[in-house]
Amino acid sequence: MEHVKCECGHVNPIGTVLCEACGKPLEEVPTLVDMRYEGSARRSQTYNKTIIDKIWNFFSSVKVGVWLIVITLIASAIGTIYPQQMYIPPTVSPAEYYEQQYGWLGKWYYTLGFHDLYSSWWYMLLIALIGVSLVICSLDRVVPLYRALNNQRVTRNEQFLQRQRLFSRAQATDYETALRHVVDKLTKRGYRIREENGNILAEKGRFSRWGPYVNHIGLIIFLIGAMLRFVPGMYVDENMWIREGEIKEIPGTKGKYFLENKKFIFEVYEKEKEKEAFQPAIDRVGSGMMAKNYQTDVVLYERVGPVVAGEEPKLKKIKSFSIRVNEPLKHDHYALYQVDFKLDELKNMSFHLTDKQTNKSFGTITIDLIQPEKEYDLGNGYKVQLLSYFPDFYFDENGNPNTRSKVPNNPAFVFKMFAPDRPKGEVSFTAIRQTIEPLGDNKYKMSFAGIETRNVSALTVRRDFTLWILGVGGAIFMIGLIQGMYWNHRRLWIRRIDEEVLIAAHTNKNWFGLKKELEGIFNDTPFVMPIDQADKRS
């Protein structure tokens, strides 16, 4: 690497504007020196030959960074014009949905891929480019800045001092006493004092200069954490529907954990039960119209012993818990959240086997609508066989009975009824409010006797090993932000040259605060308070 030697003897890297040690301008500079990055040699400002230089210089530019931010900002805004794909009903085709709901604009929105904007390749690329820009921008500045601040000398070049924004020059009278007094005051205000040949450098809050780089590191860690979501196994995101009374393996736990739903509770705000203050609000939306609580009382089990195919698992109870919105059940990095529910799903259906003529009943069968029996024996030669079962019955396009799903929304049965006087049995198709006797007139019928219902709860299962990385990234980001924003780096130079005192001061931000502080320091001393040379310009 080439070097530039300053007259003070310090060797600077090539491209340095202000000598790292004494601050003497090594190039032509305007009346006031540009103190950003201390006039140090940044790689991007020095080299521009190879392709690597060019890429480096591109990404190290704040202008490029700001453009990336602005483009991301506009793209993000476009994504909120219509709901994203994840918020439209899952049963409809997005291609039709957007056109149907929002006309030709919706069609274009879908065609251009804005319906899934935030996981599109180009949006991810934008975020990645911002990440690259963060790293290169920071490296390009932090290294030379560190060098410059580390190498700065107490005695600064005269040109450096007089080209500071805050500067004064005056006759030195009673220099030593006055200096002691000022040093005393500066120390009280938390300045660290360095002295060299009767010259002073007072400095405080240098650590705030690292704030931007610390917060950028935090952001990078956060982005890495976000990227880890694409690594398989880093996180689990499953859904389970579980009925009251049911014990089910928790998906995503590889058969390790099981859950029992004891009870699902849904509560609403009712006028008479709530306090006086809430009455007008409840009146406006209507009593019983506003949800108060969604809760699933569960028991968590862990499997004991190895998994044996076809065998009932042995379970050990771990804990009972009430899962509510905002109160997930947490265990072993897993979290179970209350997300949805269905009230009063059919559980059992009962029928009497009756004689159509006499209406006499020969016994009652109760069918478990999830796991129906094949045959129900009523004794005395009476029995009922279940030939077919359609939990969610409808007639398909061929006019045959069929089922839409395994959920008992609309159960229908094909029964074969046996009686002592009907040993071959009679076939009856029985659905809700509907009976068909396909093989002619029957003597017996299955008459509806009653139903039992239960609630079903939907839970989301989560385990996310990226969370702590995101947390660390976020915390570092906040620390860096506060470090950089709530403190500032203030320096004051006092140098005696022959019979004159030169005083200069600099801060990286909040000049108003620095000036106020300097007023307090110089008010009762013979030194002249530095004057803001930027004021003269305007």
Binding site: M86, F278, M485, D535
Partner: protein
């Protein structure tokens, strides 16, 4: 308790008005012995008003059993309170009474706007039953309020520097910003007037799923709902029906507010015989531009970390607890991200590209527009998970 709470808010509102007058007086009066009496009275009245509003907040919290930040009225009122709070802090740092003359009217406008929405104390739906409601919402509102101070400083800066001797793009956009503020006043006036008159017009209409529904207007319908049929006798029939995907009633309110704003603006122009900004210019002629610029920048520097913490970090923590995921690209989340990106760009432009003074002031105005968009439009127009806040 509920009654006391409302009374305290009303008192705060009136005190802010009075304080504005004193800050106005402070501009013309010369300082005696370095102390500006008018400004001193102004800040004292402001502080009493702030305490009254704090009283509203606390009593309402006690009455409800949760922090009153759970719907649009409560949140916006709190935002107004934080704006005044941020102003008080900044006032003691920089001692500029001019800032009060501009911040307080905006805070008054914000609170008046808030009062146009349902004000009942509502119990919390399950998603909101969490301590994070207090933590997330109050921090986010505080951050936005501190950022909003930069808008006020930017506005003062622009009124001072924009050349009013000839029309230009700058005069146009500055008038546009002022027109927007006046339209908010228009909204308040129109809503209050028709409410006082008890105006109601019911429509039967067909929603986007083809179902028949009813919609009640509280203002004469300039635009009617999709295939709307007027059910209340003697009410105005709409000039035009809207398609089903547009919420015709909200659009109608917006149109009324803009008309009222236009009327007020036109009236002011007629009386003043010059641009509003030109009329305001003498008020700010003595202001120290560097100081105003510094106030604008510092409020962003202080507000940005608070906003990040409240509107992004706390928001993500709560979202992970309540909605199972820390980030879900819900419109409100996205707009918080947009706000954050915008102010990040603002800081980078200022620190590295030297965008000080007027450019910085324009950016502060745009930033405030984004915050307002997130507060108003995202709640009322773009429905999402946060839309309960707009009820």
């Amino acid at each position: 308790m509920v009654q006391l709470s409302s009374t305290l808010l009303y008192i705060a509102f009136v005190l802010y008005l009075i304080a504005t007058l004193f800050f106005g007086g402070a501009i013309r009066v010369k300082k005696k012995d370095g102390v500006d009496r008018w400004a001193t009275i102004g800040i004292v009245v402001t502080i009493i008003g702030f305490i009254a509003q704090l009283g509203y907040f606390i009593t309402r919290w006690i009455a409800a059993g949760h922090a009153p930040v759970s719907n649009l009225f409560e949140f916006t009122t709190f935002f107004g309170m934080m704006l005044v709070g941020a102003f008080i802090v900044i006032y003691f740092i920089y001692k500029t009474s001019l800032l009060g003359l501009f911040t307080l009217p905006i805070a008054i406008l914000v609170i008046a706007y808030a009062s146009m929405f349902p004000r009942e104390i509502s119990p919390l739906i399950p998603a909101l039953q969490s301590d994070w409601l207090h933590i997330h919402v109050t921090t986010a509102a505080a951050g936005e309020a501190i950022l909003a101070i930069s808008f006020v400083a930017g506005l003062i800066y622009l009124i001072r520097v924009v050349d009013q001797s000839k029309p230009s793009k700058r005069t146009f956009w500055l008038e546009f910003v002022l027109f927007f503020l006046i339209s908010t006043l228009g909204f308040v006036i129109v809503t209050t007037s028709f409410r006082a008159a008890g105006y109601e017009a019911a429509f039967e209409w067909i929603d986007k799923n083809g179902k028949q529904d009813e919609m009640v207007y509280h203002m004469p319908a300039l635009v009617g709902p999709h295939e709307g049929v007027l059910k209340t006798e003697g009410r105005m029939t709409p000039l035009i029906d809207m398609p089903a995907i547009i919420n015709a009633r909200k659009l109608n309110t917006v149109i009324w507010s803009l008309f009222a704003g236009l009327g007020l603006y036109g009236l002011l122009r007629l009386v003043l015989r010059k641009r509003i900004a030109a009329a305001l210019q003498p008020l700010v002629k003595n202001v120290n531009l560097d100081l105003v610029d510094e106030i604008g920048y510092r409020s962003v520097a202080i507000g940005f970390p608070v906003f990040t913490l409240g509107a992004l970090i706390f928001a993500m923590i709560w979202a992970q607890i309540a909605w199972t995921r820390f980030w879900g690209w819900d419109p409100k989340e996205v707009w918080a991200l947009i706000t954050w990106l915008f102010y990040a760009a603002f800081l980078h432009l200022r620190l590295s590209k030297g965008w000080h003074g007027e450019r910085s002031a324009w950016l502060a105005v745009i930033g405030f527009a984004i915050i307002m968009f997130n507060l108003v439009a995202v709640n009322l127009v773009i429905a999402g998970l946060h839309s309960y806040a707009g009820s």
